[in-house]
Symmetry: C2
Subunit: 105 residues, 2 copies
Amino acid sequence: MTLIANTPTPPYYAVIFTSLRTEGDNGYSQMTERLVELASKQTGFLGIETARENVGITVTYWSDLESIKQWKENSEHQEAQRLGHEKWYSSFKTRISKVESDYGI
Amino acid sequence: MTLIANTPTPPYYAVIFTSLRTEGDNGYSQMTERLVELASKQTGFLGIETARENVGITVTYWSDLESIKQWKENSEHQEAQRLGHEKWYSSFKTRISKVESDYGI
């Protein structure tokens, strides 16, 4: 896993997940590690970037909307989403976006 | 400034800026603070989310592509971009994306 995702030439999709955590770990770290491993094996997965300071931001990159839908419906991911609602996040926002252009060094 | 941006109903735009820093501050913190202040006054600015851990991720939200273009061409921002290339970042990627849907708690 690279720190800055090595994504292909646009267009492709970005899922921007921004969250505020509750107190305590409650199994969060272990699940996060497992989910990254699992996501990276999904069809259409292109990369992931993540950082947490006051707020957590995780961006996953995907080739198409169908792959994002399938990942959302993955059973282990569904369980994580349930625990996220119930235990880990006081607030979150998921944004599904289409990357139209990019540049960098 | 809220930690999770209070964005309107999609569609709108997200500029995902992911970066790796060089060593030392070199005026970076002061400029970042100034840029956030400046960006938030721009036409079409909708919000900002930012976190740095191993990698830095800053997402700014905008109403349209023209506003993003104008912000990129802002003179103080241009100077910051020049310093970013020269001093602050060993690597970065900017992705311009259109948010098509969102949900959260």
